[in-house]
Amino acid sequence: MVAKPPSVALRDLRVKKRGKTILGPLDLDLEATGFTIVLGPNGAGKTTLLKVLHGVERIATGTVSWSMPRSRMDQEQAYVFQRPIMLRRSVRQNLAYPLALLGRPKSEIAIQVEHWAGRVGLGNLLDQHAPRLSGGEKQKLALARALIRAPSVLFLDEPCANLDGRSTREIEAVLQAAHSDGTRIIMTTHDLGQARRLANDVIFLSQGQLHEQGAAADIFTNPGQPKTKAFLQGDIVE
């Protein structure tokens, strides 16, 4: 089990790049529990929103307030990047890294590494050099490395882009298990089928604006905005 996840509120938030507002102004509240999927066309600002929430994007205006002190929040969250970043080390050392940073004892780290490697099906690749893994294996390693600190909030940016069906299914299973263990998940995806399978609630972004937010069941059956509806039907939306 993980610590009780925090909720978060964004107010009047803007992110600017080269003088252009690429996200916002937006207000957004996220509950402390659930599995949120961020949807939207390419360039809508999904990645930027995730990075803002994670605290690694510079914001131009507004506030991001977590219901947990910032110092604790830093330890309680993890992020899986769209292109997995592999340390030039073995799979074992990649998994151990986040715990080693926290100064955990070697014996505990070894147990956790074995456990998480098994969870994502990398148990027999522990001594492989991580940069040489396949795309699917890298993404699974990145996911396990994110979960090994038992974060209460987990961000994922299109974790299954370019993966085959089998890897996608394995990753979804791990995500669902983490979710039932109490981890708060906020994730972007291009795969509407995946969104339907996983989401409790959905955020729809377009051109840096929050267009719609609501329970997955509602949005998928009865989207409130024409743009959301068009997007969910598979029309080309900007």
Binding site: V56, F81, R88, R89
Partner: protein, 234 residues
């Protein structure tokens, strides 16, 4: 022509019989240059890494300065160190001129920019790759530097070997600050210069063989390192 053949033969003989002078000079060379290498690395590895990952106002200027320092003629470094250490200079009271310590100081000044520059290149590349992950994991500056140095260790070792090669092959600066004193500050390069001047080619060539062997060994080590980099055997 005969002189040269005789010299080569005599030089070779000195090497295989482990001539006392030759061994003495070789060991001193290694001691001085290895000391310089260790000190220069302790400065250059963190400095190069720091320049790669920290953004600050004069970063570009600092990198340009580093590259300029790399091009400093060793003889000029020798001259400056000489002036600083000479009896009337600011550090004259230390009495370091014409000691191995003075030679180490000169070599440190010569190779630190080289090692720092190679470190900077390698670390910049690795930092671009790791940046998002290390930020996301909320690493401290210290942890970042240690991670980059460890994962970039092969490139850094290559840089260090290049620095060592430059140190042990250098003659101008250490001649000035060391004085080429027999049994005190005479090293491979300065001894070769002296013996050649005297016309004693046997010792000069014998020392030359040792220097060439060291250079080949270094190049072999660098080559092997860059191969393991590609094959990731360690």
């Amino acid at each position: 022509m005969n002189d040269i053949w005789a010299g080569l033969l005599a030089g070779f003989q000195l090497v295989i019989t482990l001539d006392a002078d030759l061994v003495d000079i070789t060991l001193r060379s290694l001691k001085v240059s290895l000391s310089a290498l260790v000190i220069a690395s302790l400065i250059a590895l963190p400095l190069g890494t720091w320049l790669a990952i920290r953004r600050f106002r004069f970063r570009r200027a600092a990198i340009a300065t580093l590259n300029a320092l790399m091009g400093l003629p060793p003889v000029v470094v020798g001259l400056i160190v000489y002036l600083l250490l000479s009896r009337s200079g600011p550090f004259g009271v230390l009495g370091l001129l014409f000691t191995p310590t003075a030679m180490i100081i000169a070599q440190v000044i010569i190779i630190t920019p080289l090692i720092a520059s190679i470190t900077h290149q390698a670390m910049r590349e690795l930092w671009a790759e790791y940046h998002d992950l290390l930020i996301s994991l909320n690493t401290t500056n210290r942890q970042r530097v240690l991670t980059l140095i460890w994962d970039g260790r092969r490139a850094l070792l290559t840089g260090a070997l290049a620095g060592f090669g430059r140190a042990i092959g250098e003659v101008g600066a250490i001649m000035i600050v060391g004085g080429n004193i027999d049994h005190a500050t005479r090293v491979l390069t300065t001894a070769i210069a002296l013996e050649t001047g005297k016309g004693d080619f046997a010792l000069a060539l014998g020392l030359g063989f040792v220097l060439i062997a060291l250079a080949i060994l270094l190049n072999f080590a660098i080559h092997t390192l860059s191969r393991t980099e590609r094959h990731d055997t360690w």
